[in-house]
């Protein structure tokens, strides 16, 4: 039977059958499993039916715990139900999983296995999540390839139905979930064949029904619980048989045969590697090579990991085996060994004699255990070879690691990267692109073109850096005559393309080129001029490796075709022309068909423009005559710039240079603690245009610095003397203030840190009288001349002393911007709507702030290595930052507050005790200090410093103890920061509890109204009428009014702000929130690329959001309650524009207006009603008088700051 060949990634491969064989699907986004849920949602939204002829119900829940609960309920009520998840998401499902397994309920959860956060979060792949679920009683089936992810998705469902044991279907996150490969797609008949209707009916018959009531989920006592638990044994014992039978049935129909354990290698192998997941591909290639050389080696791929059939495992081993390496993609500190290793050891101990039968003389094979591939660490055939070598030693390491250099514990094996060469008939192509230039999309497309239109096999895998703006992408594509099972990055490429010319100065793009490879460079220079533009290292590489060098001016071709900077189709055409992977005519025809398919729905003009780019690409493609010697005097730029710290020099710079894999274990901290303020060392220079200040027009309002998402434009006021030694071209204007007479002020751009978003220009209110479009800040193309002017100016600017913050009016826009920012140059998206709030927070309170940051965008641009933006001042003070989880952030921050309060109470007690040493006056002034203002804080710091000086060297216990905690006497500010996904959904329970706590914490919700970090899925903050993932037809229900929920407590300071709409109100809210000694909540409007707006005018959108009443500004201050004042202050006026006028400018709303105008009109009408109603309600709120609940410390406890 002919089946369709398709090229898809592992997520799609797994999700398609899952959608077709289920009835209820509860989902929640989490990397790298989100695309499975998104696809299921999209299929149901498109009306795709399951094999029972009904469109599956897909529902997004508030957390993975919620998804598991909903699935559990659906299963109990008789539906076939599933979900998709990974990592922390799986951990949240574990409580339900115990129940589901305990109740013997047939279901499959599809897992893109991902690292569980420990010392750090990692979005990448390993088995630590699924291994944490081992004790739940779920079966586990591991797919090693994209095809297997497809097949096992169905097989697991069939097994679960027959065995009644629920199953985790596991593929490796990213390596399999995001790898595109050519697979054979199962037909509807295959699905129907494998899903036995009788078993489905039996599943439904077991459901809860009032027509035949039962009770499940009883509470049991010591008399019977144990026995009941043991009653399931026969069921589990039968599972391997069911699995084998199901796999055989599958093989009979489809032709692909799987076993519980599949052995590959020499029949008389003496050394065998055992592992599961995608690493099998690399080991298999090593085995093929080694067996070809006559070596006796083999591989066991574990398919069914739970229940582990020990007898079947041992039976799968060749009897000749003498040494086994069990490889685990997880780490269990403190254990005897990792899980698979322990299973292998126990299996051998139990069944080896039985396996070898008569020849009892054969000793038990030696088993060693190794860890590999944590957090998607590369695992290659060369590494597998090193393991086989280790197995051959007389005394191999019993526990080892592979893929790293462990110079601390000596666990690592050395490997020889030269061991393995990929076959010459496989085209291995590596592409360097920008996240926004379409390189990845074009490459995905090329894989599809080859995979689906030719007999060739194709594979694509994509690597991204950690930035959200100006990120570098590296695409690894393989094309060959045989199925491609190389589950690792290309080691030697025979085609390299660099799609962005600026990369050549900072990335060694030719490192992977093999001798004679083709190198294609996108470049504005022609073949005659380009050579002189290359850095010397690149020239040397080209000559030394005898590369065939081509250039194309993709920028021009794209511009001429009307595509702007989208060079993807140009480069794709050149790739096909140069690589010869398929005949060029065929390729061009396929590219055009694919353009029609991709863009057909979006409009004819787009197709036309792309066709034009394809047609004219080759005319601009030229071979460069390579000289025989390098002539350039320019060197590639160093990854770090400026005076750095030792750590940055040794470690960070290696990561920045893309050499982090080479760092030994000793280079890394043992507990995940890193120094802050490292983003300043990474000069990315990604902007094509930067703002340039015109002091003649500037009114020194400070708005440009306030809104800059990257803190790359700054204001500083200083005494004129500081100008001594200023570089030529350094600009300043006169600045006068009550506290600072005859000062100078400079607005300065950080030319290498600016992303060129243009938000500062949009908000600048000062215009030239002669040329109206000329403002006090203007975008200007980055040229050598401009950089030579701005670079030294910025360096000089940084060295100018900071202003005395105790004298600055920090409650004004201008004043706040004169404070030193302690959050800078984050990797957030250009124009990010969240980061200006964080920058402001850092300026106002950063030197005494502890931050609990929920997982999400802010934890990624805030804490993703190599460099991080939270910084410190010259005194070494700055925000201390930590990310715990997604769901627990409010509690995490509350815990910080409790600790700080407790420390302060302890320090106060000790301070009172040391009055004799420190002096009564000092002690009294410390204990009585109000610490309300900057000046108060500075004074308290001086007192505490004096106290510490007096205590230094004292032997008294109280003095020693106080020295340890004396800093707690200076008031600390706790900020709990996160996005709407956390605050409105997954973390809401905890948030609500913290709101009720009355403790002095400040909660900042960066409300983008979608899950921004995982790709724009709807949250309960998503407004009515907006299109988002999981709300493709426009969200039907309105946004949760989180602010009013908080106001309802009466004791929570609550503000809703929009920095672009009313900056002063925002600053006021931050001050009021921080000064309030109870819980404060600020909900901050944060525009996002997921809104579908021109990010350069984002602050104008914020204004319109407020003008339309869509985002009303308010502050509720409990301090005003009970004083006859009105605690709720509505800072917004009556709407002046209709909601539609705002909505029409944002694609999230406008998309629906075009795709379904009738539904959009209805939703917009309802949204307008929501606005009217809310404004009416808020207006009434503004008139109410109210007393806040009186607060009282818990009985017997010390009353801390609350009393103030």
């Amino acid at each position: 039977m002919e089946r369709r060949l398709t090229t898809v990634d592992g997520n799609e491969a797994a999700a398609r059958p899952a959608h077709r064989v289920n009835e209820v699907i509860a989902i929640y986004p989490i990397t790298p499993a989100s695309p499975m849920g998104e696809l299921a949602d999209a299929l149901s939204a498109a009306g795709v039916e399951n094999i029972f002829g009904v469109v599956p119900e897909v529902i997004e829940m508030q957390s993975e715990g919620g998804a598991a609960g909903a699935v559990h309920g659906a299963l109990q009520a008789g539906a076939l139900a599933t979900t998709f998840t990974a990592s922390q998401g799986l951990l949240l499902m574990i409580p339900n999983m115990f129940k589901i397994a305990g109740e013997l309920t047939s279901t499959v959860f599809h897992i893109a296995a991902r690292t569980v956060a420990t010392h750090a979060l990692s979005i990448f792949g390993d088995h630590s999540d699924v291994m944490a679920a081992r004790s739940t009683g779920w079966g586990m089936l591991f797919a090693a390839t994209v095809q297997e992810a497809h097949d096992f998705s169905l097989i697991a469902q069939a097994i679960a139905l027959e065995s009644r044991v629920p199953f985790l279907h596991v593929m490796d996150g990213f390596r399999t979930s995001h790898e595109i490969n050519k697979i054979e797609q199962l037909s509807d008949d295959d699905l129907r064949y494998m899903i036995d209707d009788k078993l489905v009916r039996a599943h439904r018959d077991r459901a809860l029904s009032p027509d035949r009531p039962i009770l499940r989920g009883s509470a049991q006592n010591p008399d019977v619980f144990f026995q009941a638990r043991e009653a399931i044994n026969p069921i589990y014992q039968a599972v391997p048989g069911v699995v084998l039978k199901t796999m055989d049935r599958f093989a009979e129909r489809v032709g692909r045969r799987y076993g519980l354990f599949d052995y590959i290698g020499a029949a008389d192998a003496e050394r065998v590697i055992v592992l599961m997941g995608s690493g099998a591909g690399a080991v298999e290639e090593a085995v093929e090579t080694l067996v070809g050389r006559g070596e006796k080696v083999g591989l066991i791929k574990v398919r069914l990991y739970r229940p582990f059939d020990a007898r079947a495992f041992v039976a799968a081993l060749p009897p000749s085996v003498r040494a086994i390496a069990a490889l685990d993609r997880t780490k269990e500190p403190g254990s005897v060994g990792e899980p698979l290793y322990l299973d292998v050891v126990a299996s051998i101990a139990d069944h080896w004699e039985e396996r070898i039968g008569e020849s009892h003389s054969k000793p038990l094979p030696r088993v060693i255990g190794g860890r590999y591939g944590l957090s998607s660490k590369e695992f290659t055939p060369a590494m597998a070879h090193a393991i086989f070598d280790e197995l051959g030693r007389d005394r191999p390491k019993r526990r080892f690691t592979i893929g790293i250099i462990d110079d601390v514990s000596g666990t690592s094996l050395k490997w020889d990267p030269a061991f393995h060469d990929e076959p010459a008939d496989v085209l291995r192509a590596v592409f360097y692109g920008l996240g926004s230039d379409g390189t990845v999309g074009a490459n995905k497309n090329s894989v599809k073109i080859v995979g689906e239109n030719t007999p060739l096999y194709a594979q694509g895998y994509f690597v991204y850096d950690s930035k959200k703006s100006g990120s570098t992408t590296i695409s690894h594509l393989r094309f060959g005559p045989r199925p491609i099972k190389s589950t690792y990055l290309i080691q030697k490429a025979n085609f390299i393309a660099c799609h962005q010319f600026t990369f050549i100065d900072r990335i060694d793009v030719l490192e992977l080129a093999e001798p004679g490879a083709i190198f294609l460079l996108n470049c504005r220079r022609g073949p005659e001029e380009v050579w002189d533009e290359l850095p010397r290292e690149m020239q040397e590489r080209i000559i030394e490796k005898r590369l065939r060098f081509y250039v194309v001016d993709g920028y021009k071709v794209a511009e001429d075709a009307g595509l702007g900077s989208r060079i993807n189709t140009v480069m794709q055409t050149c790739f096909f022309a140069l690589s010869g992977v398929i005949p060029l005519d065929h390729a061009i025809d396929s590219i055009k068909k694919s353009i029609e398919k991709t863009y057909g729905k979006r409009g004819e003009s787009i197709i036309r423009k792309n066709f034009a780019a394809v047609d004219s690409a080759l005319a601009s493609l030229h071979e460069v005559k390579v000289p025989d010697r390098a002539t350039s005097t320019r060197r590639r730029r160093s990854a770090v710039v400026g005076a750095t710290t030792d750590f940055v020099e040794r470690v960070t710079s290696m990561m920045l240079a893309g050499k982090g894999d080479l760092l030994p274990v000793s280079a890394l901290p043992v507990d995940g603690a890193f120094e802050t303020g490292t983003s300043k060392y990474e000069k990315r220079s990604i902007a094509a245009e930067i703002p340039v200040w015109d002091p003649d027009i500037c009114i020194a309002c400070g708005l440009c610095a306030l809104v800059c998402p990257h803190t790359a434009i700054r204001a500083k006021a200083y005494a004129p003397a500081a100008l001594a030694g200023a570089p030529a071209g350094f600009r300043s204007i006169a600045w006068d203030d009550k506290a600072f007479h005859d000062y100078r002020l400079t607005i300065q751009v950080a030319p290498d840190d600016c992303t060129g978003c243009g938000v500062c220009v949009d908000v600048c209110p000062a215009r030239s009288k002669e040329i109206a479009k000329h403002k006090a800040i203007n975008m200007q193309a980055v040229t050598d001349e401009l950089v030579e002017l701005e670079r030294p100016s910025f360096a000089f600017f940084l060295d100018i002393p900071e202003i005395d913050r105790t004298e600055v009016k920090t409650d004004t826009v201008k004043g706040s911007q004169l404070l030193e920012p302690l959050f800078e140059y984050s990797g957030a998206c250009a124009g990010c709507g969240e980061t200006p709030y964080l920058s402001l927070l850092s300026r106002l309170f950063g030197d005494r702030t502890v931050i609990a940051n929920a997982t999400g965008c802010s934890s990624i641009y805030g804490g993703n290595l190599p460099t991080t933006p939270w910084a410190k001042n010259a005194e070494g003070r700055g925000p201390a930052w930590s990310n715990s989880l997604f769901e627990d952030n409010a509690e995490f921050g509350l815990g910080m507050r409790l600790a700080l309060d407790h420390q302060q109470a302890y320090a106060r007690r000790l301070t009172a005790e040391v009055a004799g040493i420190a002096g009564g006056d000092l002690v009294a002034s410390i204990l009585e200090a109000e610490q309300e203002t900057e000046a108060d804080i500075a004074e308290q710091r001086r007192r505490v410093s004096a106290l510490k000086e007096k205590l230094a060297g004292c032997e008294e216990a109280a003095a020693k103890a106080l020295l340890n905690v004396a800093d707690a006497l200076v008031r600390k500010s706790v900020w709990i920061v996160g996005g709407d996904g956390w605050a409105y959904d997954i973390g809401f329970g905890g948030l609500d509890h913290v709101l009720a706590s009355g403790r002095d914490v400040n909660i900042l919700v960066l409300d983008t109204e979608v899950y921004s970090n995982t790709g724009g899925q709807a949250s309960k903050a998503t407004p009515r009428g907006a299109v988002a993932k999981f709300a493709a037809e426009g969200k039907a229900i309105g946004k949760k009014d989180l602010g009013m929920i908080a106001v309802d407590y009466g004791s929570v300071y609550t503000a809703q702000v929009a920095i672009g709409a009313n900056p002063l109100q925002t600053i006021r809210a931050f001050h009021e929130a921080e000064s309030y000694r109870g819980v404060s909540l600020i909900i901050a409007y944060s525009h996002c690329i997921a809104h579908g707006i021109d990010m350069s005018t984002s602050m104008t959108h914020q204004k319109e959001a407020t003008q339309s009443g869509y985002w009303p500004l308010f502050r509720y201050d409990p301090r005003l309650a009970g004083e006859g004042k009105h605690p709720f202050h509505l800072d917004s006026r009556e709407p002046t524009i209709p909601f539609q006028a705002f909505a029409a400018k944002e694609a999230r709303f406008a998309m629906l207006m075009r795709s379904d105008p009738e539904r959009a009109a209805r939703l917009l009408e309802l949204a307008q009603k929501d606005i009217n109603e809310r404004m009416h309600f808020y207006t009434q709120m503004a008139g109410i008088e109210r007393s806040a609940p009186e607060r009282m410390a818990p009985s017997g406890r010390h009353v801390l700051e609350i009393e103030s």
């Binding site: 998104e38 979006r602 004819e604 003009s605 299109v1027 493709a1032 690329i1089 998309m1151 075009r1154």
Partner: protein, 331 residues
């Protein structure tokens, strides 16, 4: 004796010479029905703008492409919609639906200034059932190197391109700013225009002196504006047997009468309907009929062009002498 109000326009026999021009009023099915009930002989559908088609498609493509495959955690940021309506689809759907709801002829309208792929949308408008097509050419030259000839060629090429793709009658709506309007009219007719619509009331920008922003502004027409089409229709009528439509400044029945006398086959109106309501159409028709009756005309056809440049007792009045006369009278 009742007056025969019928007139011919673009090959169509219309019940009377009053037609509603392209405006937002026509974009609502209910209003369109009321327009028909009030007696309008035909309606020009709202314009489909070249820039809008192009811009909408580009914006959509940019939106998806700029947010796709940027980060490892988010392949993209927007769900693929089942369909992306770039405005054209709903426009066509509206023509189709309107055709079923009203029986008066509906004239499609395309607004643009460059030949290109978007011209093919004219065919779609024809397929949707438009009885004729009005091509509104609105080009503002800003390049000093672009000559009058270049501009005229642009118009002619565009008309020819549209003519190529549609077989329904084609009217071309132009502005009054040509060195030789009669010569331009001839070129357009030679390029395939079956009628001319005189004139486009250009959307003139305004400045907001508070924000220093340019603000688009379209004021309702005034009756004074009538005189530009009046003059040119009177001049063109004797030279061309194609349809001539007068637009701009038609507010009262007297205006309709004047334009018919000058030689217009139809007059179109919109501003007056905003000011007086859709039922004003009835007044225009009845007023025209009343005048014709009172003056003893038996039909619109009889009166049409009776005051054109060659039929008027004082042809010079339409020429430069008219200017002299006005000055003399005022001074």
């Amino acid at each position: 004796m009742s007056v025969n109000m019928k007139t011919k326009y673009l090959g169509m026999e219309l019940a009377n010479p009053v037609v509603v021009s392209a405006c937002p009023l026509v974009a609502h099915a209910d209003t369109l029905r009321r327009i028909e009930q009030a007696g309008a002989a035909a309606a020009v559908m709202p314009s489909l703008f070249e820039e809008q088609i192009d811009r909408d498609e580009s914006a959509l493509a940019d939106l998806f492409e700029s947010t796709t495959d940027r980060f490892p955690e988010a392949n993209d940021f927007f769900p693929e919609m089942r369909r992306y309506n770039d405005g054209l689809e709903s426009y066509l759907k509206y023509i189709e639906e309107s055709r079923r709801k009203v029986s008066i002829p509906l004239i499609g309208s395309l607004n643009g200034c460059t030949p290109g792929g978007w011209v093919r949308h004219a065919r779609r408008i024809e397929e949707a059932g438009a009885a004729a097509l009005e091509l509104n050419i609105y080009f503002v030259p800003t390049d000093p190197d672009e000559t009058g000839e270049d501009v005229e060629r642009r118009y002619v090429d565009l008309v020819a391109a549209v003519r190529d793709v549609v077989s329904i009658p084609l009217a071309v709506k132009i502005g009054p700013y040509f060195s030789s309007t009669p010569n331009m009219a001839r070129k357009l007719v030679q390029a395939g225009a079956n009628g001319l619509v005189l004139f486009n009331r250009y959307l003139q920008p305004d400045l907001d002196i508070e924000t220093l922003a340019i603000t688009p502004r379209l004021n309702p027409s005034t009756r004074d504006e009538l005189r530009t089409p009046l003059r040119w229709i009177a001049i063109l009528r004797p030279h061309f047997d194609v349809s001539l439509a007068a637009t701009s400044g038609v507010h009262a029945a007297e205006d309709v009468v004047k334009l018919i006398l000058a030689g217009a086959d139809i007059v179109t109106t919109a501003s007056a309907l905003y000011q007086h309501g859709v039922d004003h159409i009835r007044k225009l028709i009845e007023g025209t009929r009343g005048w014709l009756e009172e003056k003893g005309y038996c039909s619109v056809a009889q009166a049409k062009g009776s005051m054109s440049r060659v039929h008027a007792p004082d042809p010079a009045g339409f020429e430069r002498a008219n200017y002299i006369k006005a000055i003399v009278e005022f001074t």
